[in-house]
Symmetry: C2
Subunit: 326 residues, 2 copies
């Protein structure tokens, strides 16, 4: 930041230049700017209603910490109940450090936290599970996280599961799916996806219009607890990673281009073909599946001899009772 | 090219490395490789049939010269008649130089050439016309070229108008339209578009799977006449230009990614929403329009006091008669 750059609103020392909006903002007005964006996205896209229960999946990283912090601030005004969910995947060092941060976050923002410890309930960490079924860690991790997030939201009778995907992440996913011409996947990358009564809780993405750098600056300036570390399993050099780099370069030349794409996409989602996949109820655990068993019950059956969805659901019910959240 | 790199097919000195296909090719096998690609695209996408008349729009540039040259070579085997069309837009120096190249090209490949000279028929060059109607040259040029190409194809009762769009151009158009979420425009960027009986002749893109650098190397190695100059009105720094640069960088990291996208897109075109625009017949000239008058008749009426489509069609008919092409 150059010396002497002043906030466009109050004239105080600016800490952020928002090129696409032609704004320079001081700390206070920057925080308000991001909070307003989230509130506007919630209203514009009808993400949350009065009396709703919302589960926010937190990882300890900047995006979900920004999200949890802002959703907590808005919860009184917009009249919903907020619950934090942390999934301890058992990734050495990384998972414990993030767990501590999330406990701190929960205290700071004053919202209850449910911790699901994968090793505790399955007897195996996610990397161990992946090793047993001979599949990439990130792919197994995705299945486990999706299952637990949904199961917790279902048990809490939540109306929505809030995800910390920021604008840059979403644009990169969308482009990657476009290169693969998976238009049906793109149809799921809007600000919200639908619920299936009793089987699956819809996802909402309140950071849909928040850039990654805004999210980072938000946690830093608001002193929201977070860990800047990346998961040790993250792979660089993937297509998605390269696409993200190139999109940053495009944004540099044409500020606001990512934002414009996602705004137009949100308006245009009806034009995309919807997945035609038949949905059913998992025979083992009773949650959503595309065949006999859900992916989680399939993987755990393969690794441990029996599908573990039902046990995980029981564990979650107990946790919720213990915390007095029901 | 490194000393001593050998053709994957015959072991002669290689002149081209085709990374996405893991091939190194000598001059002869490179030319065959590009010609086969075009032939395969024609068959795969059903672009041309036996007994058809095909008009190829040539500009004097590398792509349309490559296209005209290969379409001429394949015309005997695939049994269609080929006509070259050059539109002299009256752009100082540039148009004359290209016109000379195209005359040379027509002689070299032994196919008849129709030249439509905009100044001759309208009394104004395209830049003069744009100045009169106070619109950007490139936008007016697009209207004029589209009109004349279609009018010539209609008069010749052609089944298709062949365009020199290469793979890189097409990927950039597609991405640009994707950023604007114009899915309907994307639906028109496949290997062919439909004809409307008597009103409009469909376009085909036989270079749909040919990279820009392959097209350039083809004209160079085959000694096909072309001019490497760019139109003086081309603007750099546009979004399309930047997108093209970024796509090149992506292709560098993931060879074949552009090709993969366009292959998948061609298979997926049915999933895209179609333009719902009502089509009608221009009251002034009788060709395709979206309202009372076609865009060409509108622009010429604005500039010259009367719609000029009918006069252009008469001029084209005369040219065709003079050349004995009917």
């Amino acid at each position: 930041m150059h010396q002497g750059v002043k906030c466009s609103i109050c004239g105080e020392k600016a800490v952020a230049i928002i090129r696409y909006a032609r704004l320079r903002l001081c700390k206070r007005h920057f925080l308000e700017f991001v909070e307003r964006k989230v509130e506007r996205a919630i209203r514009r896209y009808g993400l949350v209603g009065r009396g709703d229960r919302v589960v926010v999946a937190v990882s300890g990283g900047k995006d979900s910490s920004t999200l949890a912090s802002i959703l907590a601030k808005l919860s009184g005004k917009l009249g919903y109940k907020l619950y934090l969910l942390y999934i301890d995947l058992g990734i050495p060092v990384y998972s414990k450090a993030n767990r501590e941060k999330v406990v701190e976050l929960s205290k700071t923002i004053g919202k209850p936290l449910i911790v699901v410890d994968v090793k505790e309930v399955l007897g195996l960490t996610v990397p161990e599970l992946a090793f047993k079924v001979r599949r990439p860690v990130c792919s197994v991790c995705g299945v486990v996280k999706r299952y637990i997030m949904n199961a917790v939201a279902v048990e809490l009778k939540a109306s929505a599961l809030a995800m910390g995907h920021n604008l840059d992440d979403l644009v990169a996913y969308v482009l990657k799916e476009f290169f693969n011409q998976n238009l049906e996947q793109i149809s799921k990358l809007g600000p919200r996806t639908g619920s299936v009564e009793g089987l699956a809780v819809g996802r909402i993405r309140p950071l849909y219009e928040v850039y990654e750098r805004e999210s980072l600056l938000y946690v830093l300036l608001s002193r929201t607890p977070f860990l800047p570390d990346e998961c040790p399993h993250v792979r660089r050099g993937t297509m998605e990673f390269k696409i993200k780099e190139l999109l940053d370069s495009l944004e540099e030349s044409f500020p606001g281009i990512k934002f414009g794409l996602m705004r137009r996409l949100a308006k245009n989602l009806e034009s995309y073909p919807k997945p035609s996949q038949k949905l059913s109820r998992c025979k083992a655990c009773g949650l959503i599946a595309s065949g006999e068993l859900c992916s989680f019950c399939k993987i755990t059956k393969q690794a441990l001899g029996e599908p573990m969805g039902a046990r995980v659901r029981e564990y979650i019910r107990r946790k919720i009772l213990e915390l007095g959240l029901d």
